[in-house]
Amino acid sequence: MSVEEKLIQKINSAGSLGVKKTELRKEFAEAETDTILEDMVTHGDVFIDKKGAAYYCWSKDHYFQSLLNSDPKFRLTYEAIKSLEQSVNKRSDGLAETVGMLVDNISNLSKPTIEKNGHSSSQIVLSGPLTMQLEQFKNEFDLAVANYSSSIGWVELAKIRNELYAKYNLSNEEFYCLVEQLANKYQDKYELSTGGNEGLMVRGLIHGLVRCI
């Protein structure tokens, strides 16, 4: 057994009372005890603290126990943190249960739809919220295009954005993100054109006009 291992064993055997540093020096006189202990402290294996007039050494767990026994402030803080942890755990368990129930419910709800329709638009376990949002957005968007379009069918995207902002408080970024998704998903349905003061950037040009083909 090496000197380091013997030192650790000695410190562990002392338990939460700890062992005096001077005792270790005496017992391991032939070794460079201070240097070895410094290394151990650096690695977090051993803790050294003053108790009374002498310096004592502890292993990690025993030092923790020693602090709990001897320092009322530490004990109180520890108990407060533990209580908080228990409370958080309790709530997160409840949340996980609720989410689990929701997942099951959505799965059950989507299942008959899949079986009935049997095609690709359905989601199996838990669908991403964006898909739903996109479909809802599509309906609103189509309606706005129909309402605002000129005789040749083109509408400024800014007009539609203003309407959807007024209705749903849809931000600029969200609106154009959804327009981009819509134009990509339904390439044969929508046509974008350059122009306007705001719009989607394609080929370095602002495309601020749209129409349904």
């Binding site: 997942v103 989601q123 838990l126 005789s151 974008l192 054109s193 350059t194 306007g196 394609v202 006009l209």
Partner: protein, 547 residues
Amino acid sequence: MYPYKLAQNPYPSSPTPTTIDAKIIGGKKHKEAKSAVLSCIGDLLSKITETPTDKDFRLITLIQDVGSGKTHLSLHIRDLQELSDNTVISYVDLSQISPRDMHSLYRSMLGGFTEDYVRNLKESVVYFLRDQAERNVMDAKKIFNYGFVDLITRRSLTYKAEQILKNKIVPNYFAINSVLKEEDLSQTEISILKLLIEGKFRADSYNNVSTLEDIIASISAIASLNLKFLKKLTIFQIDEFDSEKESVDFVKAVINAHLPSTVLMLILTPSSYEEIRNKNSSVFDRLEKANYKIDLAGSNTLEEILDISLEYIRYYDCGNNFTKDDEKDLTAKIKVIYDEFPDFRNIRSMINILYHATENAGKRNAVIIDEEAIDDTIEAVYPGLRIKGSIMGVPLSDFFKIRRNSDDVQMLESDVRDAVRNLVNYAYEIGTVAKPEAANDGKGNGIDLIYDDPNGTKVAVAVVINKDYVKSFKQISNAVKSADYADKLVVLTNTNAYGESNGTSIVNIDRYKMIDLIYFSSKYRNKEMVLDDSQRALMLAKSIKLC
């Protein structure tokens, strides 16, 4: 030699169409638009009598976004053989006129007529005058200075007319004035004809006009003369029409004038149309009431772009070397470009890629436009372009190949399954996970792979890829039931599904992830992994919750 044994690159290289390129027209929408224009012209032709009236005016608007083929269509119509017998066309590109005022606009309208037209009109007028002289109409012979010497030397009036056409003799302009007056021609018409005979047709814009009224009278006169002497309609094509005040006011005057036997074709973008609406409601109202509003809606759809792209090859494929298989192959490649890069969803951009790709393939003597040609083209011409969301940095050429093969879902599922096994094996080789085991127990339990992660957690992996999502749902359910011996189950699927509960993670892998996986797998199998790939592979594994 170019691909498909073509003698030349069929695709134009210029950013805007040229007269030669415009001979080719493809695409259902463009052909429909062409038919609509021809129908308008045909309708007007059927109604015109010898004496044109202000009812014989038509307005056509051609509105579509930049790069969609408006100018191409206009030039194609201008050079149509079937129209050359009954129309004369002046094409004007307003973007080339600066500063813009009524004089420069009128000058460009005169400049838009071809030299052939000017020569034909001059010939018609001179031979008309000769006919008048032969019929001994008063003063007509004086036009040709036809006298006693011509008579005894047997020089005919035709000879004298030809001399005038060759600018070898100067006609008697006073006599021309006198004869044409008898034909009920206006003074403006007579002035234009005199300039024409003098060889200074386009000088009218400098000499005889000072007001907008004069200009409109001159344009109207030209249209009347075209009908009288050439029996042809006049078509003015004004391209790049915009909301600039000078152009808008000029066009308004032209529309209001109801030019006889004339079609005015305005070519503009939806943006310009909107601007005109905001700036000049009076002109906008006139545009709204256009006789024909040519709509190129859908001119940027895949179907249209494909048809146009293929039409160029068909046009130059004299030896019928472009087979159905070649067509299918090229169609698939164009579709990939169209789907993956929104920047190329217009015909001008696509033609540009095809031009460079054809050049590239030609230099390598490739028999088709191959993936390498397209890859090199995009790298050279659009160096900033990347496949969106690719972790492995898949080169475009590999992306094309994998993407094209991914239409076969069974093959795709098998490739992805192999790729996932290879990815976990690779993670094991570099010490990230414990040695994976194959989980196929022959009962079809749906688990493809089992391994221990660095925390000692036993992870089971199931790959579920189907077109039929109901089938996927069942497969996922089976996998969940079968994986009770594992601490964690990762289901990789294309079902648009997400979720994480009771140790099961459903991970949605989209087309890009699958292509990343297959690309990694190919590199791993062929022992082509380099340091950078290693980091990317680990990132890929993390992104699908495998590590």
